[in-house]
């Protein structure tokens, strides 16, 4: 059983990471942050309805893990899913247009923020029921093992979902059947308004896997390089046929649980301290500048490019028409076999 504890200082500037990789992590994380800020803005304008859960603060988790994935690997997550979709290469326009409930959205406007999918990018949702994506992720891995390929599935869930019974039912079967699934606990420390300390006396969440014989470790989720390194280790474990692996990624969400969260359960100072001292994007930015991989001007140009992509997605999401009324009655039953996977 692995028991390594990744330290936040593990990543020295330039150590084992190329300039291009660093720039691409920076770019991917920044895209998620700017996209989410824009989504928050559109929500405020009434263009996005219902629930909208922003990923701001947690960007290093998906970007680090996607850096450890190969083509064919699958991912499934909860309702806080915009970052996962952008990180696996789904089009910002299609995601934003789904948020506004328009025809150009990934689900033709019928899924919404919490329910989006992309067969092409092997993204299996977007699930609104806390914890339900965990057995589904193990099932995707079951299918890959059945077919005899070496694909791995990333099943993301939060510290809140970690208390759902089906997670442990899944741990048991995943280890019993050696399923190639990485269980990623995105521990952002609050399940809606309930802190981890108020919901469990377990000292750590990943160690619960020990009861089923599943190896795992804790990772600093504000350090994209640490996440990537741990992700590579987890993926190698799964691909080699050793069964599942658990990563408890310590992260932090800057915004409320959803757009309608007054966030009275934590102090403004706590949030501000994380933003100022541990921000994952700022961390990579400093690595780029101190390592002389990029100049302030380079980064400004990149920032501008990303703002352009995000603004374009917002424009598309506003201009794409609402779905045709006939869409109410489509996609309830499949006529021919859906071409899954």
């Amino acid at each position: 059983m692995a028991t390594r504890k990744a330290s936040g200082n593990a990543a020295k500037p330039g150590a084992n990471v190329s300039k291009d990789d660093l720039l691409s992590y920076y770019r991917d994380m920044l895209l998620i942050r700017r996209f989410e800020e824009k989504a928050g803005q559109l929500y405020g304008m009434g263009l996005i309805g219902g629930f909208c859960h922003l990923y701001i603060g947690q960007e290093a988790v998906v970007v680090g893990l996607e850096a450890a994935a190969k083509e064919g690997d699958k991912r499934v997550t909860s309702y806080r899913d915009h970052g996962h979709m952008l990180a696996c290469g789904m089009d910002a326009k299609g995601v934003m247009a789904e948020l506004t409930g328009r025809e150009g959205g990934y689900s033709k406007g019928k899924g919404g923020s919490m329910h989006m999918f992309s067969k092409e990018k092997h993204f299996y949702g977007g699930h609104g029921i806390v914890g339900a994506q965990v057995p589904i992720g193990a099932g995707l891995a079951f299918a890959d093992k059945y077919k005899g390929n070496d694909n791995v599935t990333f099943a993301y869930f939060g510290d809140g979902a970690a208390n759902q019974g089906q997670v442990y039912e899944t741990y048991n079967m995943a280890q019993l059947w050696d399923l190639p699934v990485v269980f990623v606990i995105e521990n952002n420390q609050y399940a809606m308004g309930t802190s981890v300390q108020r919901s469990t006396k377990s000292p750590s969440l990943w160690q619960r896997g020990a009861a089923y014989g599943i190896a795992g470790e804790e990772v600093d989720g504000m350090d994209v390089l640490a996440v990537k390194e741990a992700g590579e280790k987890a993926v190698a474990h799964c691909r080699a046929g050793n069964g599942p692996y658990i990563l408890e990624v310590k992260t932090y969400r800057y915004r409320g649980h959803s757009m309608s969260d007054p966030a009275k359960y934590r102090s403004r100072d706590e949030v501000q301290k994380m933003r100022e001292e541990r921000d994952a994007i700022e961390h990579v930015r400093q690595l780029l500048l101190t390592g002389e991989h990029a100049s302030e001007d380079d980064l400004k140009a990149l920032d501008k490019e990303i703002k352009g992509i995000v603004n374009e997605s917002a424009e598309f999401a506003k201009e794409s028409p609402e779905p045709a009324l006939e869409e109410l009655w489509t996609d309830i039953y499949a006529e021919a076999a859906p071409q899954n996977a």
Partner: protein
Amino acid sequence: MATEILMPALSPTMEEGTLAKWLKKEGESVSSGDIIAEIETDKATMEFEAVDEGVIGKILIPEGTAGVKVNDCIAILLEEGESMDDVDSSAKSEAPAAPQDDAPASVPAAAKSEDDTPAPQANLDPDWPEGTPMKQQTVREALRDAMAEEMRGDENVYLMGEEVAQYQGAYKISQGLLDEFGDKRVVDTPITEHGFAGIAVGAAFGGLRPIVEFMTFNFAMQAIDHIINSAAKTLYMSGGQMGAPMVFRGPNGAAARVGAQHSQDYSAWYAQIPGLKVAIPYSAADAKGLLKSAIRDPNPVIFLENEILYGKTFDVPDMDDFTVPFGKAKIWREGTDVTIVSFGIGMTYALEAAEKLAEEGISAEVIDLRTLRPLDYDTVLASVMKTNRCVTVEEGFPVASIGNHLSAVIMERAFDYLDAPVINCTGKDVPMPYAANLEKLALTTTAEVVDAVKKVTYR
């Protein structure tokens, strides 16, 4: 360029709110993420964060103002070096292009008026060609053969559940399958319904064709979230990109003397869910033909069996690849005085009652729905239009039963043909008792069906 700061919507239902407090004054600079104001919604006081960087040029709505509409401009944010003089105060903001709330003028395809609906007609095509040799089989054997044939035909079909492999099935439905297909395709699970139902849904998303056996549908209550939220709704929520082609099967309803927690009939529950298909065979031929169709269906199918029927023997056509289509009821017995509609084990009472009624000179037409979703309304309606009377029979609870639903449809579409109210024979509105005499009372009986028919025929 100056930016207008608009009153934000801070909850799914917020239309207006109170601007409780400004935390930034005119002339102060703000950066992204700073709290600029506190806004009271109907639920809470929320902190309003700046999205853009700049300097507060002008506050348009003073603090303490109630009833500020969402999207009203509350302040102007200036860029570095800009002043309010640069802002053309006459330039009104464009109203954001929020979607229109107007109700659609017409809802397509939903409720067609009766006028353009063709008169209902029963599909009387035979289930198998005339002259097909028949063999005697139990429902149990027919179900096993259906699975074995489909597993031979499609490598991606596999069976998972409790005791399906080494034990050969808690009710011996999977007898012999482990020997033929091996433990890769016949998978024993731990006792963990919620978990393995979810894993099977994931496997279906991933391209397999799972058959999930529940030891009984009573235990599927632990898995119902995955059946409905994960399996039934995904095709719709994904805009048609992916779904869950799979079968959930097992015994449903009362067996004998197993008490309240093991005796519930879930027909009406699952029949309510768009995205699911629901089959509930009575005979061995239907068990085989419908299960083969279910396994091939690209949608999630609930396949409701019955423990008491497992050991019953019927004629099954002895032919290659016999299937029964969904949405086609079967007329077991033609008649002219009353229509008795049932499904699954309810057919036992329906057919027994028809036999008794015939002795008294009452001619009953008996219809087996076979699938509840899709449901063959036309065969039922065509029959009721002929007999003008209808009795429904099922073992499930009476409230919101399949019989209730049929009664409503018959009232809507054949009101003028009815000579008597439709009567629903159902299980009683009580948890299933253990005592033998009470259990018998709790289920519906042949005598109740006979009485109901006499009532609607005024005998």
